[in-house]
Every structure is written in structure tokens, then in C-alpha cells.
């Protein structure tokens, strides 16, 4: 009998990757292409969706060739994608209408400010369980229709279609199926997170025609069969990338959490069938939904600046030549020497959400060396994690007992130890380097019966490293106090014009 595999497409912010996994969840081959970032104005970030699709068409045969297999050996295809990136396209020609507006883009700033004052905003926040912010897709669709009035009538007739990246890829893969999954839909502000369908109140509020929206489907379940890139292969799953990482870390039970440490960091806590509304600045989101089953929800804490603080230390201060050297430099000293860096470069995200805050370095004395600064850079990531975990414990009533980590920064042992120390829980890295893709693979494999159940997937999860807390509780409390005082010093820095 020929062996079968699961293939994933991870459509990320800077690149698209295609990975082949075997039945034990092991990576067999990987192919990757970067795509161009467009910055037409300050605060604007765009992608060319046509370029991204061309990349997928190139990656598919490349990944299969490297694995030495054919499309007929692929049991299912799973998709994970950058979230909230927003695209319109023409139903008849299949061509994008302009570039996609990327999740980092803040062009809807003033629109969101005026909308949040408008009548009906409360209902939208109630239905979507999201705060009114530029981060989400709904305001972007409104912006596009406002700035291209000629599109509105065509959108109302369903000739212009809206989608996030998984919707675009499924549409291209299947030759015209217009669907999204609940995790991606839960990031639009247009979804009623209780009914898991588009909220009539939100659509009316934003002035977005129902006809241009995709059908909302469960994340795990057969979407359709591909006719391009992987002809004949069933698409078994689609998930937003952070939700996919949660799935790849096999955080299937309430109380299980993962944090992905990259440029920014994203901590997601599975809250199960219970929808928890945060009173501490976290986002409520859908973790996943299996076809025919109820949705599992999650609380999400987004930290804007973690790995990018190390990049700033390297590129702007030029104190290190490569990012990993931050650990070498930090180990030249025993502690932070009383110095703290709060990287509120563009305000503070969770749990503060203060856009007027700006970064500070406090506790400077003539004693401070670049080694202390390097420590303070790494510690900033750990303390920001602590603040998000505290908010999650308070919101969910669940006490985090272990933090599962992934992402590039997990190679930094000093940082991982410090995170264990300040959280006072074990930090565990799994033996699965690509948790985003792995999560999409698991979900797609489940959908087609390649894997029997969630419990079976847990058997594939193995611990590759573990850091146990060793910090004296008195030191932890004192340091956390110092960090919080440092954070207070970032408040109210920029003044309204």
C-alpha cells in the first residue's frame, strides 16, 4: 500500500510555506517563497494576492518533489494563514481589486475612531466580542467601499467578493468556492461569535453587503476538492495562524495555553465551549470548530513588540550582529542592574491598550553596560507574557499550570528560563518546530479520517525541552513591581494634537 501524507499551506505575513507531514506528524519536506511587502504611505501595508497565489502554484510541486511523492498520495490539504488581512476580488475575472490590506495596516484609524462613537457600535462589540480597532477586517472592507464607491453596487450584486487569505486561497484552489472558516471569520468584527454566522447588526453598522461575504464553515471539515495546485486533493481544514499553532500544540482542553514567540507574541488559552468575555484587555476568539460539533473558544493576548525589540537592539542600536547574540551579551552580566526597557513603540497592547504610551528605558546609572541592556530587552518579553497570563487567569478563573511555547525565540535559553521564573510555571517546548503548519495538518488529517481523533494527536506531541521556575518568590515580586512602575512611566507620553 502506498504511504499517504498531509500537506499544508501556511500563508504568512512575509512568506508562504508548503510543508508535507507524515502520519506521525513529522516534517517530510518544506518549500517556501517570500512575497513583496508594499508600503505606499506611512502606516499602510499591502500584499499582492495574485503574487501570493502564484507562489502557492510554484510551491505545491516543489514540496511534493522534495518529499518524493505525488498529489495522489496526499490525503488532505490544510491551510493556516495570516489573520485579518483583507482582500476584494472580481467574481467573474478572478482578479484582485487592488492589493490586500495587511493586518498591520492602520489606515482605518480615523474611520474606526468615528465608528466607535456611532450608534450601534455597542451591539457590534457585543456580537463580535472584539473591541473596535484597526486590527480587524470589517473596518477595512468599509474603507475600501468608501474609497472606491464604484464597487458598492457590484458588491451588492455579489460581483465583488470579500475574503481573508484562506478564503482567497480556497477560492483559487477550488475554482470558485467562496468560503471562510470560523476562526478567520471571528477576526472580522462581522461575525456573531455566538451563532457563528454573520451578524446582521454588524453588517448594517459597517454598511457591508451580505452578498460579498463568504459562507462561514467549521475549521475542521472538508471544504471542497482542489482543481489547481493540488488537483484532486481534499481541503480538510482552514485556521488562522495563531489558532493553528494552538491546535498544533494539541491544546485541546480548557486551561491549556501556548505562546508563539516571534516578532510579536501571541498567547492563546483554550477556554473550551465557554465564551469568556475579557474584562482585562484580552480578545475573545474562536479556537476551532470541528464539523458537526460546537465551537471551542479561546482568550488571546497579543504582545506587539517581543522579537522586534531584539531586532531594534541589533539594527538600530547596533549592539549585536545577530539576534541570537543577545543571549551571549545578556550572559555577560548576572542581572539587569536595575534597568528596565518597556517597548511601547506604538503604544501598549494587551492588557493596557494605551495607544498614547511610548517606550522607556528606566533605571539608568553609570553602572549600566550593554549587557544589562541586553538583559532588560529579554526580560521585557517575559514580563509582558506575565501581564497577559495574569489577565487570562483573572478572566478565565483557570490557573495556567504549564506554558507551551514555540517560535524562533524559544532558541534563547536565558529567555525561556526567565519566562518560567517570572510565571512560576514550567515552560515547555515541543518537538515540533512548525506548530502553525502542524496544526493545519492535524486539522486537515482529522477531517478526512487520516488521524482518528484528538487523543491520537496528543500521542504525537513530545517534549523537546523544559525550563522549571527557580526564582526566589521575593525576588520575583520585587522585580514585577519594578516592571510595573516602569510601565506606568510610558503612559500619557504622546499628547493629542
Amino acid at each position: 500500500m502506498t504511504e499517504h501524507y498531509v500537506v499544508t499551506i501556511d500563508q504568512g505575513t512575509t512568506s508562504t510555506r508548503c510543508i508535507v507531514f507524515d502520519s506521525r506528524g513529522r516534517l517530510v519536506s518544506l518549500a517556501q517563497h517570500e512575497h513583496k511587502q508594499y508600503f505606499p504611505k506611512p502606516g499602510w501595508v499591502e500584499h499582492d494576492a495574485a503574487e501570493i497565489w502564484r507562489n502557492v502554484e510554484r510551491l505545491a510541486p516543489e514540496a511534493l518533489r522534495r518529499a518524493g511523492i505525488t498529489a495522489s498520495q496526499v490525503a488532505a490539504l490544510g491551510i493556516a494563514n495570516q489573520r485579518e488581512t483583507t482582500l476584494l476580488w472580481d467574481r467573474d475575472t478572478g482578479n484582485p481589486v487592488g492589493h490586500a490590506i495587511v493586518w498591520q495596516d492602520t489606515r482605518t484609524d480615523s474611520l474606526v475612531r468615528s465608528l466607535s462613537e456611532a450608534e450601534g457600535a455597542d451591539q457590534v462589540v457585543q456580537d463580535s466580542a472584539l473591541p473596535m480597532a484597526t486590527y480587524f477586517s470589517g473596518p477595512r472592507v468599509r474603507w475600501m467601499l468608501d474609497h472606491h464607491p464604484e464597487l458598492r453596487a457590484r458588491a451588492e450584486r455579489g460581483e465583488i467578493l470579500f475574503g481573508t487569505m484562506e478564503t482567497w486561497l480556497i477560492w483559487k484552489l477550488t475554482g470558485g468556492l467562496h468560503v471562510t472558516d470560523v476562526t478567520n471569520a471571528s477576526r472580522t468584527m462581522l461575525l456573531d461569535i455566538h451563532t457563528l454566522d454573520w451578524s446582521p447588526a454588524a453588517l448594517a453598522f459597517f454598511g457591508i453587503p451580505r452578498a460579498m461575504l463568504p459562507e462561514v464553515r467549521p475549521s475542521v471539515g472538508v471544504f471542497g476538492t482542489a482543481v489547481a495546485a493540488f488537483p484532486g486533493v481534499r481541503i480538510g481544514a482552514a485556521l488562522g495562524d495563531q489558532q493553528a499553532a494552538l491546535f498544533g500544540q494539541t491544546c485541546f482542553a480548557p486551561g491549556e495555553a501556548k505562546c508563539t514567540y516571534g516578532t510579536g507574541s501571541f498567547l492563546l488559552l483554550n477556554t473550551g465551549a465557554e465564551l469568556v468575555r475579557s474584562t482585562h484587555g484580552l480578545l475573545t476568539t474562536v479556537a476551532y470548530q470541528m464539523a458537526g460539533g460546537p465551537a471551542a473558544y479561546a482568550l488571546e493576548g497579543s504582545i506587539a513588540i517581543t522579537g522586534s525589540l531584539v531586532q531594534w537592539f541589533r539594527d538600530q542600536l547596533e549592539l549585536i550582529a545577530s539576534a541570537p547574540e543577545i543571549e551571549t551579551l545578556a550572559r555577560t552580566v548576572a542581572d539587569n542592574g536595575g534597568c528596565y526597557i518597556v517597548p511601547a513603540f506604538s503604544g501598549l497592547y494587551a492588557p493596557y491598550w494605551r495607544s498614547e504610551a511610548r517606550g522607556v528605558i528606566v533605571g539608568l546609572t553609570s553602572y549600566i553596560t550593554k549587557g544589562h541592556l541586553a538583559r532588560a530587552v529579554l526580560e521585557a518579553t517575559a514580563w509582558q507574557t506575565r501581564e497577559v497570563v495574569d489577565a487570562m487567569n483573572a478572566d478565565s478563573g483557570l490557573d495556567l499550570t504549564t506554558l507551551r511555547v514555540d517560535g524562533g525565540m524559544t532558541a534563547d535559553n536565558l529567555l525561556m528560563q526567565f519566562i518560567a521564573d517570572v510565571l512560576d510555571v514550567p515552560v515547555v517546548r515541543p518537538l515540533a518546530i512548525e506548530t502553525v503548519s502542524l496544526g493545519a495538518a492535524y486539522a486537515a488529517g482529522l477531517a478526512v479520517g487520516y488521524w482518528p481523533d484528538l487523543e491520537g494527536l496528543r500521542q504525537n506531541w513530545h517534549r523537546a525541552a523544559q525550563w522549571l521556575p527557580t526564582m526566589d518568590p521575593a525576588v520575583r515580586a520585587a522585580e514585577y513591581g519594578n516592571w510595573r512602575r516602569a510601565v506606568e512611566r510610558t503612559f500619557d507620553w504622546t499628547r493629542p494634537a
Binding site: P324, A411, Q466
Partner: protein
């Protein structure tokens, strides 16, 4: 004696020139001083820049000696960078072999463990990054000495750990010769009774060995009935080490 290589002579002249005077020179002046075409000089400078011997000021465009020259004779690759660059290959090696994976480099005449991946069986294990091990009694150490990583020579003092530890310089020299011939090293109960290990070199630019990658585990799992490491395990280790080397810029070999 074979002829000399002209481009290496020219590169040496460029380095001498940059080490004198102000230490910062524009391309045109370097070319004029050495009576070389600008294009040729630029090619030499770019190559020297690639290996870290020269750097270019981003504002003035002037060239000066690079940080790698100062670190000649020590590990030229930062250990944390080595870990970062290896992590994507060390994990699959642990998954395929079912054994614990370690990466070692030379520090103070010993093996310094810079990366450790647990044996994937979810038993309780402790990270031993930062641990020092003897060069002569471990597979990682033998690889590092055989390929003179960080210019390390064979250790003079050969401490005994088990009844199988190599104890004479002569036996060690013969063993290192075997490692060189085979391209990998093993230690079978030479450090700890009941434990065997296999290791292979990690190479950087120009083929220099910057570290060693290996697996270790119970001797009955690592070795066959003849007490030799299983060939498939050796192949996994060598494949992973080669993959990291290619990632680090070593030529395919």
C-alpha cells in the same frame, strides 16, 4: 612547491593596508594603493566582507577590518547563534532517532554543550546546556579534536571515566585518525557505563568545523549485537550535521 594563489595574496595585501594608518579607507584608495582595478578590488573586499574579515561603514562607505579578525583563534560562531541555526535540524534528528540530541563546541579545552533536545519519550529529563564534558571520552569531543575545531589540540590529560575510556595519547591518536577517515565518531560506554553516542561535525564557511552534533542513549539501542553503532543512526546524525553545515554556508561535500 605549487604556485601561489594571486587572489589570496591580494586579499592579504588589502588586510595589511586596512590594519595600518586610520584603519578606514574608501574603495578607490585601496585600489590605487595596490595598483588594482576597482572591480577586482571590489570583488576582494566583498569576499572579505562575506567572511567577516572586513566591514563597510554604512554612512561613509569606507572599509575597515571586521570583527571576525579579532576573534580568530576562538570560536568564530557565537554559540547562541549556532543553536539558533541548528534547532530546526536537531529536533527532527531527535524525532527520527528517538534519542536525545546534543550540540557541542570547544570551550577551555572541554566540550561545552550549547544545545540539548530531550529524548522524545516524555520522561523527566533536565536541560544540560552549559555542561562541560571531556574531549577524549565523548563522541562530540572526538569530532571536535579530530577536526581541530577552534584550533584545539588533543588533550594532554586523559582522565579515566569507565574501563573503556581511552587513556593513552597513542590510542587517542589512532581513534582520531579513524574519526577523520569515517567522518563521524562514537563513544561506547567510554564516558558512562551503559551509554553510547554518535557524533558528526558541523561546518561553517570554508569548511571550518564549528561544532559537533550527536545523539546518545542506552548502548543496546544505539549499538547492534557486535557493539557497533547502527548504520541508520549514523546516517541520521551525519545527514543532520550536513544540513546544518549547508545552512551555515559550508560548501556541499
Amino acid at each position: 612547491m605549487p604556485g601561489t594563489v594571486q587572489s589570496i595574496e591580494r586579499a592579504a595585501a588589502v588586510l595589511r593596508l586596512l590594519s595600518g594608518g586610520s584603519g578606514r579607507l574608501p574603495l578607490g584608495e585601496i585600489a590605487r594603493s595596490l595598483d588594482l582595478a576597482k572591480g577586482t578590488t571590489h570583488g576582494i573586499l566583498r569576499t572579505l566582507q562575506h567572511v567577516g574579515f572586513v566591514e563597510q561603514d554604512s554612512v561613509s562607505g569606507y572599509y575597515r577590518l571586521g570583527p571576525a579578525l579579532r576573534d580568530l583563534g576562538t570560536n568564530y560562531l557565537d554559540v547562541n547563534e549556532l543553536r539558533s541555526r541548528s534547532i530546526n535540524w536537531a529536533d527532527p534528528l531527535a524525532a527520527r532517532s528517538g534519542e536525545a540530541v546534543r550540540i557541542g563546541t570547544v570551550r577551555a579545552g572541554q566540550v561545552l554543550i550549547v544545545h540539548h533536545v530531550f529524548r522524545p519519550d516524555d520522561t523527566f529529563q533536565t536541560l544540560d546546556v552549559g555542561t562541560m564534558l571531556p574531549l577524549h571520552a565523548t563522541a562530540l569531543g572526538k569530532v571536535l579534536v579530530a577536526y581541530r575545531a577552534a584550533a584545539v589540540g588533543p588533550p594532554r590529560q586523559l582522565d579515566r571515566f569507565t574501563r573503556r575510556t581511552i587513556l593513552t595519547p597513542r590510542a587517542l591518536a589512532a581513534e582520531l585518525h579513524r574519526v577523520h577517515e569515517a567522518g563521524w565518531a562514537a563513544d561506547i560506554e567510554e564516558m558512562t557505563p551503559g551509554i553510547a553516542a554518535v557524533a558528526a561535525p558541523i561546518r561553517g564557511y570554508g569548511g571550518l568545523v564549528v561544532g559537533a552534533l550527536g545523539i546518545s542513549g542506552l548502548v543496546e539501542r544505539i549499538c547492534d549485537s557486535h557493539y557497533h553503532p547502527h548504520q541508520h543512526l549514523v546516517a541520521y546524525v551525519r545527514d543532520a550535521a550536513r544540513a546544518i553545515s549547508q545552512d551555515l554556508g559550508a560548501a556541499r561535500r
